[in-house]
Symmetry: C2
Subunit: 208 residues, 2 copies
């Protein structure tokens, strides 16, 4: 199974804002797409333990590897910094092999806690093949950003997707839905709104 | 008050598809954006009477006039047909004055049942002024399409908006959200998902 979890977008479909930098990982969106997550018990003691918390907890169990885009691994230009190891500190929250899709490959980086970054310049299908091997029988999470998820959807490589629609209008950035006309034909889609204001969408691939 | 009701969009924000014509009022979207409405008791005996039905019933009460765009009044080129009186038959479902925004003005058309179409070439603010007079103290509905609602939102002329997000990806057509960055600053927004699969969004203007 390939899975997407807790991928947050604005009402107008942007998964990240414009102007990404070392200080603004999501550009002008700031942290606004993820406040719902920070308010859960999964994130902090005393947080909410309703539907948002249930969904956010699905992120890790059963996952054996992640695939992420270059834009998630670092701000534009990270490949010019030989010391760049991602924005997550010495012990990143993945704890599995992570395949980073990039045109600027480098040797793998082994971090604390079980995360190893592998840098590959490959198509979605090729990257998935590599990630599946690394996942050792477990599922592969497609970690984003928007461009990567869109490419994997277009290649019909995603089995389960959880998208969170946050009630803000970003106006600019990277869109999730472009070029995916008719996506609903491949999935059973459910929507559930939360008291926090967000709406959780789940896409379960149907037989094809 | 200016109000928008039951304006249906796809996940990717399109309020109508591409290729509108006399036979395809919503272009390649067909009727897919409005199936949720046809399934309600408001539309047909024996229909659903839950949250979808509650929302759809808000369309008419308290409304004294509607403003609609040229693209809602007819398919492209209608202004070349002097007999064109809209796609709703002799007794249109508005039963109030209707201001049609168009660069091709013509004399008013009085229909059965209280609907009169008035054709004006005006800015949103000017059209609203005309509609308010015609509404005789009641509210004005901004009837769409997407372009017209977007223009009225950009001009900060909408007090209440009900948008229905339908779980399909249209890919092309006319977008609602473009150019509306920061819209959430002006509104209290709620989301409620329905068993039918759609999500109702309500925007209530806060003090400014």
């Amino acid at each position: 199974m390939t899975r997407v979890h807790s991928f947050s977008i604005s009402l107008d479909g942007f998964g990240t804002g414009e102007g990404q930098s070392a200080d603004a990982h999501f550009g002008h969106a700031g942290e606004r797409l993820h406040q719902w997550m920070f308010a859960t018990r999964w994130w902090q003691p005393g947080g909410s333990d309703g539907v948002d918390n249930l969904f956010v907890q699905q992120h890790d169990p059963g996952i054996g590897a992640e695939i992420m885009g270059a834009g998630k691994f670092g701000h534009p230009g990270w490949h010019e910094d030989p010391q760049w190891k991602g924005a997550w500190g010495p012990n990143p929250p993945f704890h599995t092999p992570v395949v980073v899709l990039t045109h600027h490959t480098r040797p793998p980086i082994e971090m604390e806690g079980g995360t190893t970054f592998h840098f590959v310049d490959a198509s979605p299908a090729e990257a998935l093949e590599a990630a599946r091997k690394a996942a050792d029988g477990k599922d592969v999470r497609i970690g984003g950003g928007a461009t990567v998820i869109r490419e994997f959807l277009a290649a019909r490589l995603i089995d389960h997707m959880h998208v969170v629609v946050v009630p803000i209008v970003l106006g600019r950035g990277k869109r999730l839905w472009d070029g995916l006309e008719g996506l609903e034909d491949d999935y059973r889609i459910e929507a559930v709104s939360s008291p926090s204001g967000v709406t959780h969408l789940t896409f379960a691939r149907t037989g094809r």
